[in-house]
Assembly symmetry: C2
Homo-oligomer: 303 residues x 2
């Protein structure tokens, strides 16, 4: 494997599949099951993070890193760390005390396949390992860059980001939120980690502020469009397509973009956001074509 | 507040109280409740980490840092991070799916005071913030030191350390462990974080390997003695003294040092370990007196 990532002729689908396979290979190596009693928590961690999935966040990491010619071996470390955090958040969100989901990515959720206690610990283990991976010299030769990655991931994933967004999401079950509050919730719950995925390439490259701001802008619009698309799938998709129960949001009485805006306006809003997202990429010219295709994919996807 | 920590005449009790007060002040500043909906998860994080407690781990951080003349403002950052990880582990361990405890440090456990979902998120938030604190420039001017702290804390807290130990502890409810397996369990579940507490002073000071090995040795013996003392309190203590239900281990059918060795042999084993722990400190001469007193405190404590 050379350090140069993807020829210019690669299609979005090929790049997405390659990002998934590169990230999964590294995850396999990072999470080796030890021959001891604690093996069970490693098995649950692997079950969660190696579940079939698009690996959209790893794709965003590798593609944003490619914009700056960052070494693949560094970018894939960050991709693996982010996928661990994403997987941990799903394991904890699916718990009976949270969203109480039995199905995820077409398979039993972690606490159904193992048990609730193991699922709590598997989530904890994945979150902890993500930071261990970022702090490792393999991620970047410069420890200042590694510290910046740790701090930025923690900010995105913590109480001011993903964890705070999930808190608001739980409160939303008992208290109607307006569109502004839902937008903020989603920026925290899913947007922050997507933004970190896109920005991480720039951090690895020590890229100038201008490039970082553009990638953050792209990611925020993309993340919101992604969430609206998710809400639309919850209403219009089928379990066979999405691999999870449909209508779950409505059943939980949660306000979503779709329940407030209606299907048609939600769809136009997503399209508007994708247009905005793509506009942020002008700075990078033709080099950002894969990120543009990713944006178009987000609102056309059926799963 | 000067950078010099504690005169040589300070007693162990004074130093312990001062470490607690310094750490709690910083925790207060690090965990400011925002005026937004996610406030609830911050309140739960504060409830858990600012609960009354001895703050033994922060004391070990500050005291080991003092051996090398490390700046107090750096050491207290590490102390706060470790206390967050310790608090998160208690919040998750107390959950109904895990140890199902209602009482902790004399107050309702986090999921009793808030709710289960909030407790899961509060634990996640504390763990995440701990890494954010370690990666922050306030913790050390040299990012290489900060990365080493992040990596070492993650190793101590993750599936090869605390999380793995808790996994084995859960398995132990259904499967009798021998004394070797229980020793390994406790080294992972509580020993690893105590070892990191003691070693962190040496990491902050970039101290030579010899000093780090000595502190790790001290901490491992201390941690095991601490656990045996805990098991003894579970048998001999009262809820009024310990602030948590007694007899919980026996009720859960768990093998402990006391259930296998009996009270008398467990007590001698703890005393032996304390002797060993203190012997590791010879290298530091008189400067390590507070750590020696801490070791003696561990087996004499009643709470």
């Amino acid at each position: 494997m050379t350090e140069t990532l993807w020829p210019n002729t690669i299609t979005f689908e090929e790049a997405l599949a390659d990002a998934a396979s590169l990230t999964d290979s590294l995850l396999e190596r990072l999470l080796v099951v030890p021959p001891d009693l604690e093996a069970r928590v490693y098995e649950a961690m692997r079950y969660a993070v190696l579940a079939p999935g698009k690996r959209m966040r790893p794709f965003l990491v590798l593609t944003s890193a490619r914009l700056f010619g960052v070494a693949l071996r560094c970018a894939v470390q960050v991709a693996a760390a982010i996928e661990m955090v994403h997987a941990y958040s799903m394991v904890h969100d699916d718990l009976p005390a949270m969203d109480d989901s039995d199905l995820r990515r077409g398979r039993p959720t972690c606490h159904k396949e193992f048990d609730e206690a193991t699922a709590v610990l598997a989530g904890d283990g994945l979150l902890t390992t993500a930071f261990e991976v970022l702090a490792h010299p393999d991620t970047h030769a410069d420890p200042a860059v590694r510290c910046e990655l740790v701090a930025a991931l923690a900010a995105a994933a913590g109480a001011a980001g993903m964890v705070g967004g999930q808190m608001i999401d739980l409160i939303a079950e008992h208290r109607p939120l307006d569109i502004g509050a839902i937008t903020r919730l989603q920026r925290m719950k899913t947007g922050a980690l997507i933004a970190f995925s896109c920005e991480s390439g720039a951090i690895l490259a020590k890229a100038p502020t201008e490039a970082r701001t553009a990638l953050r802008g792209y990611a925020h619009d993309l993340g919101l469009a992604y969430q609206i698309a998710d809400d639309l799938l919850d209403v219009e998709g089928s379990t066979a397509e999405t691999g999870k129960p449909v209508g779950a949001d409505a059943a939980a009485g949660k306000a979503t973009f779709v329940s407030i805006l209606g299907v048609e306006r939600a769809r136009s809003q997503a399209e508007l956001l994708i247009g905005q997202a793509v506009a942020h990429l002008d700075l990078f010219g033709r080099r950002a074509e894969l990120l543009r295709e990713a944006a178009r994919f987000v609102i056309s996807r059926r799963t």
